[in-house]
Symmetry: C2
Subunit: 114 residues, 2 copies
DNA sequence: TTGATATTTCTAGAATTATGGAATCGAAAG
DNA sequence: CTTTCGATTCCATAATTCTAGAAATATCAA
């Protein structure tokens, strides 16, 4: 991972509403949540939520897909894990750190995942 | 961890020079590096480096100690690990993710660590 | 005390980012 | 085809953050 994508990802997460949205999506799992639900739960106007979701998407931290009239956002676990790996890269001058931070939705309880 | 500290930490890392400095410190281990060395390696004037190091310190990501005329900065591994744990909290609605990202300098090869 | 070194604080201007209302777009339903 | 709903884009304003030179501070050596 290059520095630039990592900076974009970190910058995307370094904002109250975006961090809240991302965490809701991380907790929601691969099914994700529609933009409107996120705006309502976080308490920001739709235009602001859209602005922030665009930043997260641009940083590659979330994916988006249309489902009827809604646009569903979901956390990109690979991107998140990649970011954490980047931060701990070559940690402590080569100490065998448990640098394997990993959140793997594939381990989720059976529930026809997209 | 509350959202606010996490936002401060993420914001601190979301900047080219600060991310570079933090990664150098993560790789340097508990011994850390003096401000001047960081400024030189990264290629920014001392005043800018100082500004950025203050941000990292304020976010709790690095510690600082004076050693003669130099001020040595070192990564705070606990803070980093805490941040990563926060990001993956309740990942995937309770799936047993390997949320144990951990960089532990105590595992370092014998080398009288402070 | 004087001088050199390492770093920080102060400062203002430049650049970037956030906000939210209004207008617009796309999909579905009547 | 018109309406409604969910979401985005546009826009001007407000707020924050970055930059780097100059000045100040702290440490050590002579």
């Amino acid at each position: 991972m290059d520095p630039q994508p990592a900076i974009r990802a970190l910058g995307a997460l370094a904002q109250e509403h975006r961090l809240a949205a991302f965490r809701l999506l991380v907790q929601a799992g691969p099914d994700g949540l529609p933009a409107g639900t996120l705006a309502e739960r976080i308490g920001v106007p739709p235009s602001s939520m859209s602005f922030h979701l665009a930043q997260l998407a641009n940083a590659g931290l979330v994916s988006q897909r249309r489902q009827s009239r809604s646009i569903i956002y979901a956390a990109d676990y690979a991107a998140m894990n990649g970011l954490m790996a980047y931060l701990t890269e070559n940690c402590c001058a080569g100490v065998p750190c448990t640098t394997g931070a990993a959140c793997n939705p594939a381990l989720a309880p059976a529930k026809d995942v997209a």
